[in-house]
Symmetry: C2
Amino acid sequence: MPETVSFLVDPLPVGTSAEFLESSFREIEPGSPALAVNDLAPHRGDGVFETLAIVDGRVNDLEPHLARLANSARLTDLPEPNLDQWRLVIRRAAERAPADGQFSVKIVVSRGVDPGTVPTGWAHVASVPDFSRERSHGIRVVTLDRGIDRGAGERAPWLLLGAKTLSYAPNMAAIREAKRRGVDDAVFVSSDGFVLEGPTSNVLVRLGDVVVTPPPAAGILHGTTQRRVFAFLESLGRRVAYRDLTLDELRGADAAWLVSSVRMAAPVIEVDGHPLGADAAMTAEINDHLLGAND
Amino acid sequence: MPETVSFLVDPLPVGTSAEFLESSFREIEPGSPALAVNDLAPHRGDGVFETLAIVDGRVNDLEPHLARLANSARLTDLPEPNLDQWRLVIRRAAERAPADGQFSVKIVVSRGVDPGTVPTGWAHVASVPDFSRERSHGIRVVTLDRGIDRGAGERAPWLLLGAKTLSYAPNMAAIREAKRRGVDDAVFVSSDGFVLEGPTSNVLVRLGDVVVTPPPAAGILHGTTQRRVFAFLESLGRRVAYRDLTLDELRGADAAWLVSSVRMAAPVIEVDGHPLGADAAMTAEINDHLLGAND
């Protein structure tokens, strides 16, 4: 198994006959030249993506990720992706990953070479850092102002706050800012004082016996992992809720997690320098579930 | 002259001996595979760029664009670009453009292949649509909420509002939204009612005998073309000012322009359906100046 595996994909229209799916993508040498410099992905961060975990050869949350890819494409006026094609690409990518261990596969639909009339696509499998320490010992975070108020997502859909686009430079800058402040990650807070999301994660907070996350309408990405955790907790008879969360509620929470597809549930042990209570039992329960088979 | 010209560039550290500059980049077939799919430019829109106009073989505003590239790199924690190298790349790119007509050259510094320890770079020359009609007849715009308030740029530098990053998906979505509403372009307005910038331009407004633009500290990109227009107007003894501009001031302006490197000064003839006064004389004067030699 090479360190990475890459596929170039010609995104097909919806409804293309199944016989053409297998020949619509091909493996390429990892790190090899693949994209034109005037493809709108490198040109303008103009495309959508999903990152899925591959655990011991199994793909996590395949259908929710595909559904979100389709939603991101809709929000960015890209052609509707052929999900049969992407399902097959992801399956082939997972087959190329080793049978043991954790990997990620990122799938991308770019608007294509400027002026963007024909989408381009690719998939990329990479090994994943060992996040077991973050999952067990937790992470320290700072809250960072996201500039927008809580209503911006609904008011201004052109900001694409609910779409998973390639334009992640501010997200990456926020993580660098967190590391500069000596902690592990960031939590974005709206200009009117509400918890939004992490730069690459959703925020879950336990307040008493209910686990809360901010509503997607608040201008955040609706997390596949967050949804899976909610479904899991509900299956155990626990209470979950989407509702606005203030910064004070996060700081005073009984427990909190940043959840994402690859790192899974990282318990938050410190917010802005204030220690936070941990719930080791629930953390283990959630991560055991997330690391288990589910596709 | 092909329709486009592309160069791949190995960004050099500052202080590299001049003898290595010429061999640090090479022309590639336009549209050919050039970038790895896990380069952080297509991966995350994580890089910085400049777009310069080439008019009849001459490069416009070379030094202001290079200075802004360096500033964008600083704001995004990229290595300081070697401006001697980029000056040479741009000169070579301009030499490959025809001696007559208008072209653009985009230069890009990406954070490089994941995890981004070695930057990648490229330059791309393209022909430019004929904007003479926009410059003479003007454009119609709608104002769109930018979600942020006017103070976000200074309060939250991790939003990178003052850096010209590749993460332009929301900017492109705003232009699509404007076209969906039947007009040509958009003007972003802060959530507290102040004019910010266009998705790919700066806003200039004439109020009586003074030409006003919002201050860069308001969370906008400090425009090279805006600065050149201000210097030109000042050289004629006209008054110019950086100051906060309300939406009402834009709608009631004596004249307004969206200015950018390639389209130059496009007079705004309608804002949100309300016609705006034109200043054909000043428009012609500004565009004659912008289209003239200046490097």
